[in-house]
Amino acid sequence: MGEWCLIFAVIDINQFKNLRLHGGFLIKDIELTDAPIVDAIGREAVAQTRVIAREFRLFIRAGLSEEELSITLYHEILEAASVAVANPPDRVIEFNEADFERAAREAHERWGDASPANLNLLLQFHGFRGQ
């Protein structure tokens, strides 16, 4: 066997489109993009999540490993949910960026790759209630 190893994300992001989540959230759209995500002043991003009320639209840079994509999904959804509501659960109200990243990594270790069911587990675990 050669020394080269190509790793592609095998998480099917289509399963997250128009997905209703615990807490009354909706992933309206999600896109993996090969094009650089660059804003008006030239800053490059690896992920962007737009929150309007309880709807989320995610743009994520393509080329992440399966693990990186999974952790990114957990992170983006938990942080977006925390920003979307006026009064987030006590478990996340003091979370800084590192806390969200840690929670995402723990979710990946605990439940495996991000999936619709696992994103709901994440939200429930951190105190988001209701449909």
């Binding site: 804003d39 800053r43 490059e44 991003a45 690896v46 992920a47 962007q48 999540t49 737009r50 929150v51 309007i52 009320a53 840079r61 983006e76 942080e79 977006a80 925390s82 920003v83 979307a84 987030p88 996340v92 109200i93 003091e94 979370f95 800084n96 960026e97 590192a98 969200f100």
Partner: protein
């Protein structure tokens, strides 16, 4: 002129590290953003930014009246 129910929150993870929170009101085009302080609670920073943004929106409405 402005529609508070349509305020967009963009969470942007920068390639060089760090996170930006940007608020936009589409009708007026008004936007306000801040690079989040990594050690501070995200929710608290969002509430402060939203407070400042709503004050700016009120000034826009007043100016348009």
């Amino acid at each position: 002129m402005v529609d508070r129910d349509k305020i967009q929150f963009d969470l942007i993870k920068l390639a060089g590290g760090g996170r930006i929170l940007r608020l936009t009101e589409p009708r007026s085009g008004l936007a306000l953003e801040k690079k989040l302080a990594p050690a501070d609670a995200v929710v608290r920073q969002k509430k402060k930014l939203l407070h400042a943004f709503e004050a700016a929106l009120a000034r826009v409405e007043l100016a348009a009246a």
